[in-house]
């Protein structure tokens, strides 16, 4: 029958309209909008109103969420983890990283930290390549997205970019745990290597000693 399909369509739209109230009635009006119910409302099972009331409540971001990079510094020493190797600037697809290695003012020898580190925030696309290829885990992706500004975003330097390691540990717990694990393994390897070296040196010394000993005793 002509027209039946339209009624059916309207029925579906009406069903959606009714659904927006079902949960409200079930939970009592207003309770649905508490932070405890946010995951439920946004989850796979969620029905009815789907809105996140953004400035009042925020969607929890997954750990891998990325927006713009930041530089990690160690709080105790205040030093950046960055060694100015420049791999991030090589990997960056839009080439928005400018990096300058520090130099010893007296000898002119390059040092292992950056003298200047600039990112053009207006150019950065947040692809995460710099963080992916950084061999020292010193550049990481921030989850902060509220960056709207009244002026054109441009170069930001080390001062704006650096954030403490505890912040990184807070927003990227899994990644940080992996780093710690790697660090521990590395230290263990180092210790083992050192022990092995010591043992080897000892053995070599013993051998030397043995060699030094006059051989003519037995003969």
């Amino acid at each position: 029958m002509y027209g039946f399909g339209v009624l059916k369509t309207l029925g579906i739209a009406f069903y959606h309209f009714v659904l927006t109230y079902v949960d409200d009635v079930k939970m009592g009006f207003g309770k649905r909008y508490t932070p405890e119910h946010l995951p439920e409302r946004q989850g796979v099972e969620g029905r009815g109103i789907y809105t996140v009331r953004y400035p009042k409540e925020r969607l929890p971001l997954p750990e891998r969420s990325r927006n713009h990079p930041f530089l990690v510094y160690i709080e105790e020493t205040g030093k950046l983890k960055c060694t100015a190797c420049g791999i991030c600037a090589q990997a960056c697809p839009v080439q928005c990283i400018w990096i300058e290695r520090a130099k010893d003012p007296e000898t002119g020898k390059p040092l292992s930290y950056p003298a200047a580190f600039h990112i053009d925030q207006g150019l950065c696309i947040g692809c995460g390549m710099c963080a992916e290829f950084c061999p020292f885990d010193s550049i990481k992706m921030d989850i902060e997205y509220e960056n709207a500004s009244y002026t054109r975003p441009g170069f930001v330097g080390i001062e704006e970019l650096k954030k403490p390691e505890s912040y990184h540990a807070k927003i990227h717990p899994t990644d940080y745990a992996r780093e710690m694990e790697e660090k521990r393994l590395k230290e263990e390897r180092k210790r083992k290597a050192a022990a092995a070296k010591a043992a080897k040196a000892k053995a070599a010394a013993a051998k030397k000693e043995a060699a030094k000993r006059p051989p003519d005793k037995t003969s």
Binding site: R58, G122, N147, A148, P153
Partner: protein, 207 residues
Amino acid sequence: MRDVENLPEIPPELQGTVKLTTFDQLFAWARKRSLWPMLFGLACCAFEMIAAAASRYDIARFGMEIMRPSPRQADLLIVSGTVTKKMAPQVVRLYNQMPEPKYVIAMGACAISGGPFKEGYAVVSGVDKLLPVDVYIPGCPPRPEALIHAFLALHARFEHERIRDIKAYQKGVDDGVPIPALGPDLVDWRRFEPLMEAAGEKEAVHG
């Protein structure tokens, strides 16, 4: 048009029934709740703009649900994506057709500076080369929340804005931004202003 701080005090018996405000503030309050964006999608960021308008982020909460495709009914231009040289004349034309007071949000890296495509030959290095931009949102693309944050930033700006500073309410004729043309490359008339005035061709170009 006085400042809020200089308003006379309300007698205690009238508090609750009388509220004093400035005309500027009243105007800003009204404008904050009825900002109509233009349905103008350029590229990838347009999808995040649509997502912001859809049920999850729902900019209808800010009185912005009516996205008007016609520039004459809109007062907020969200430049959501890459402005190419070929598109630049149309972007400026749309902006000129919007009624004052009008605002521009540059959404995403492309609209700010050309973004990942900046180094190429066909992209304008930022929409602010063409239009005055009020709020910039970095990101590629910015999350819908970031777009809403930009709206809030724009709202915050209204509170400090005074009607007499708005260009539309001032004396004089506003020609709008001269519409660029497509020559061997993008021709921005402001670059050739003295030249064009001398030749008397400015009107022809603006029309």
